[in-house]
């Protein structure tokens, strides 16, 4: 059961590991189907631009040579920034600090001994005597850069938003200040010269190709995809069992390694190194390239680098006061900076996602190819998802109960949920209803760990659920959100596949349907390549449920799955929830205010009011309960 696009998936192995093999096969084939075209396309793009550059350079002086190698080296740095910022959505100003450390390491090891005895005779650790080949020194430099990235990342990746930005900014400033002040080691403001100089383009070309390769493979790697999920929605990622820290740290370090390489290439190309080379201003230049092009894709990084480099070159030419187009231009100092800041500002104010936004050449091509290949297969209309697909039975349905014992939480004196004990039987669909403000969503947040309870506990079978939401998700509860939290800029398939990755590692004992089967089951297979945010509301709801199901949970917790839907859509949703739950063999706890929906779908209903259990029983029992009617209609004093 594979879709045309993933036809290269491995054969289904026999035996108990069948589901596991199938899941990993799908992930791997998907990786190949996206990474390879993306890699080739971005290499080709670079090749085309390089050809133009070479053409330009052959007609001119060595300054033009330098421009080309500059562009390639900047591209390495921009891609390094892209790997962290683009995939995690966290702004870092510190990566050039890593580049600086790496480049100093390389320079100190590679500068000829006789030069060092003149420039920095008092350097510690016998550095003046050391003289390594540029290649070995570069490799050691990258290694040191990676170590520094790990240390900084351990601090920075723990935070997000402003905190991460400020910490990395501080790091950049510290590196510069240390370089200025440890004159015995770095020569201080007086540059360390005679760094073995790279001639020609070969090393920068190699560096750029390597950087593109690393970025493309990182993006389609498991860690890369998890990092992107945290970028899209940290809360939803946690609810899918994704821990934020590790992917973010690894993205930071991989980006750091690439930036270290870029820094080393830059210093080798310049032939000298000083504290001001990796300055805050240079960081802004690199960030501008990334932001102008589009920080989320490699294609964006390439286009942004070319745009800013070429633009700066043109404005520098004009600012030098040339004789051009028949008259002499005035000499203007600072014109390239004006261009840089102006284009950055213009993009931020009019197109904050950059010129290209989410566009990646390789993804675009592969989606095109896949869509045209599978076009004849698409027969279903957008709303045609009647149960034509036989519902596969889950091979191993859960046998455990979901039990809460006296669960409660107090927010600053206000008891939102008080002593709620319910039991959800395995494989059963259990309803939780109650009027606005009854504490339904808070109760789900207590189950899944978004809110820490002040009393009580949650078990699945004999397993105690505790700790952060991602741990509980791995332990068997997957949820949806009242206010819809799909990963907006990922494709439908990627949304589901990310949860599948976690299931593969942590829920492998609960196999069953594959990603493609889940998509088909949810009526989404014909729009699997569409970006999630472009789906209509009902389909986004179904996608959210499919994503939760892909986690192969013991229990699905659905928070108002029909909120904002018409009656007929709600009825379809009943059918949908039932099919999905059957397919993955999970129990369901569904929250809704809609009694019609709940009675259609649930064998057992709990009614909450003012944070406590008001009534419990079958649909008829609950509907006839006068207390329930009063709670809903507030007719107590009528």
């Amino acid at each position: 059961m594979t879709s045309p696009g993933t036809g290269s998936g491995t054969d289904v192995a026999a035996g108990p590991d069948a589901g596991r093999a199938r899941a990993s096969g799908a992930s791997r084939s998907q990786l190949r189907s996206v990474a390879l075209p993306s890699l080739l396309a971005n290499w080709a793009l670079l090749g085309v631009l390089f050809a133009f550059g070479a053409l330009y350079a052959t007609g001119g002086s060595s300054a033009r040579d330098l421009l080309i190698s500059d562009l390639l080296i900047n591209l390495v740095l921009v891609i390094g920034f892209h790997i962290f910022i683009g995939n995690t959505g966290v702004l870092s100003f510190g990566h050039l600090g890593i580049a600086s450390v790496a480049a100093y390491t390389m320079a100190l090891l590679a500068v000829p001994s006789d030069r060092k005895l003149v420039l920095i005779p008092k350097a510690p650790w016998g550095i003046p005597e050391i003289e390594l080949s540029p290649l070995v020194a570069s490799l050691i430099g990258v290694g040191v850069g990676v170590v520094v990235a790990v240390l900084l990342g351990l601090v920075a990746a723990r935070t997000s938003g402003l905190a991460a930005t400020m910490i990395t900014l501080a790091f950049l400033a510290i590196v510069r200040q240390v370089a200025e002040n440890r004159k015995d080691l770095t020569g201080g403001a007086q540059n360390l010269s005679s760094v073995p100089r790279l001639e020609g383009w070969s090393w920068p070309v190699f560096g750029a190709l390597l950087a593109i390769t690393i970025a493309v493979f990182f993006r389609s790697s498991k860690i890369g995809r998890l990092a992107v999920a945290t970028r899209e929605d940290e809360l939803a990622a946690g609810a899918m069992g994704i821990e934020v820290f590790t992917p973010r740290l690894i993205a930071f370090v991989v980006g750091g390694g690439v930036v270290a390489l870029g820094g080393i290439l830059r210093v080798q190309s310049l032939g000298s190194i000083g504290p001001s080379q990796f300055s805050f201003e240079f960081t802004i230049l690199i960030l501008a390239m990334l932001v102008v092009g589009g920080m989320r894709t490699v294609t964006g990084a390439i286009i942004g680098t070319v745009f800013i480099t070429v633009g700066k070159e043109i404005t520098r030419f004009l600012g030098d006061g040339p004789d051009f187009l028949g008259f002499t231009w005035p000499k203007v100092d600072g014109l390239p900076d004006l261009f840089l800041a102006g284009s950055l500002l213009a993009v931020l104010l009019t197109r904050p996602t950059g010129l290209l936004g989410e566009f990646d050449l390789g993804r675009w091509i592969s989606t095109r190819v896949r869509t045209s290949a599978s076009a004849p297969a698409v027969v279903a209309g957008p709303d045609d998802h009647a149960p034509v697909v036989p519902v596969p039975r889950a091979p191993q349905a859960t046998r455990d109960e979901l039990v809460t014992n006296g669960l409660g939480v107090v927010f600053g004196g206000f008891t939102a949920v008080d002593n709620v004990s319910i039991t959800v039987a395995p494989g059963r669909i259990h309803g939780l209803i109650g009027p606005n403000g009854a504490g339904k969503t808070t109760f789900v947040n207590l189950l899944t760990g978004q809110v820490e309870p002040t009393a009580g506990s949650v078990h699945i079978g004999d397993r105690l659920l505790s700790g952060a939401p991602y741990k509980r998700a791995r332990d068997g509860v997957a949820r949806t959100f009242q206010n819809l939290r799909v990963f907006p800029s990922l494709s439908v398939r990627e949304n589901v596949a990310v949860a599948d990755l976690i299931a593969h590692d942590h829920r492998s004992h609960r196999t069953g349907v594959s990603v493609d089967e889940l998509l088909t089951l949810s009526g989404l297979s014909h729009m699997a390549d569409r970006v999630a945010s472009t789906l209509d509301y009902g389909n986004q709801r179904r996608l959210e449920i499919a994503r939760a199901a892909a986690l192969r949970p013991d229990f699905l917790l659905l928070d108002e799955p029909t909120s904002g839907m018409s009656s007929s859509e709600s009825l379809e949703m009943v059918d949908h929830v039932r099919r999905v739950a059957t397919a993955i063999g999970a129990g369901v706890l569904v929250i809704d205010h809609d009694l019609g929906f709940i009675t259609n779908i649930c064998e057992h209903i709990t009614v909450l009011d003012q944070g406590t259990v008001l009534a419990e029983g079958t649909a008829e029992e609950v509907q006839r309960d006068q207390r329930v009617i009063d709670a809903y209609l507030g007719s107590g004093h009528a």
């Binding site: 206000f414 209803i433 009027p435 606005n436 403000g437 819809l484 945010s533 789906l535 209509d536 509301y537 986004q540 108002e560 909120s563 904002g564 839907m565 018409s566 009656s567 709600s570 205010h593 809609d594 009694l595 019609g596 929906f597 709940i598 009675t599 259609n600 649909a619 509907q623 009617i629 809903y632 209609l633 507030g634 007719s635 107590g636 004093h637 009528a638």
Partner: protein, 235 residues
């Protein structure tokens, strides 16, 4: 008609929260708006006030088209909203909350309006210089209403004024609604306690999934046997 909402459409991204909703309120009326969670009641009030920008339809206030106007302009022309969950300024004192709320009335009148609020809500008077964060739920709700009244609105919109209040406080709020109406204030209130609010309202609307599904006089609606079904889905 002092307030007229005609075919209003409001969207959040892919979700259409209001599907061409029409509601009107005549001068001096108390109109109740009821319906289940997620029906679009809060969205409707926010769209009328200008906190949300509708993508279609018209809002008229005293015959003037005010669709998409800034909330501040609407407050100045005589609309006021008591928002859901009160949203009082916890870092400001009670008096400061009220003074700010009187920003649209003439400076000379502000002091007397504040005195009036003190008389109307004695519980607030005793907490005048206390940070609003220290008020109890009931007091906070009274402050929220008092704040809206500071601008001497012609039409008062209330969004779930009884949410999270103890039963005795709920009685106080209902008394207040009655009082305000008898003083000639026009009121549009969203309330969870449907039967109770409809029994005191002149007219009522029932909303469900972004549409008005029933309207009529308050007591009529509250007595209708199908209300419960409409309300929570029926079977």
């Amino acid at each position: 008609m002092i307030l007229e909402v005609d075919q209003l459409i409001t969207r959040y991204g892919s979700l259409t929260a209001l599907h061409a909703v029409s509601v009107h309120v005549a001068e001096g009326e108390l109109v109740a708006l009821v319906g289940p969670n997620g029906a679009g009641k809060t969205t409707l009030l926010s769209s009328v006030m200008g906190l949300l920008k509708p993508s279609g339809g018209v809002v008229r206030f005293e015959g003037r088209n005010i669709t998409g106007f800034d909330p501040a302009a609407n407050v100045a022309s005589g609309l006021a909203l008591v928002p859901e969950r009160r949203r009082i300024f916890k870092d400001l004192t009670v008096a400061e909350n009220l003074r700010l709320a009187g920003s649209t009335v003439a400076k000379s009148l502000r002091r007397s309006r504040m005195d009036e609020m003190g008389d109307r809500f004695p519980a607030l008077r005793s907490k005048w210089d206390v940070s609003a964060g220290f008020l109890s739920g009931g007091q906070a709700q009274q402050l929220a209403v008092a704040r809206a009244l500071m601008s001497a609105p012609k039409v008062l919109l209330l969004d779930e004024p009884c949410l999270g209040l103890a039963p005795t406080m709920v009685d106080v709020i209902f008394e207040l609604l009655d009082q305000l109406r008898s003083q000639g204030c026009t009121i549009l209130v969203v309330e969870q306690q449907a039967q109770r609010v409809l029994s005191v309202a002149d007219r009522g609307y029932v909303m469900r999934t972004g549409e008005i599904v029933a309207e009529g006089s308050g007591p009529d609606l509250s007595g209708r046997p199908d209300l419960f079904d409409t309300y929570i889905g029926g079977s």
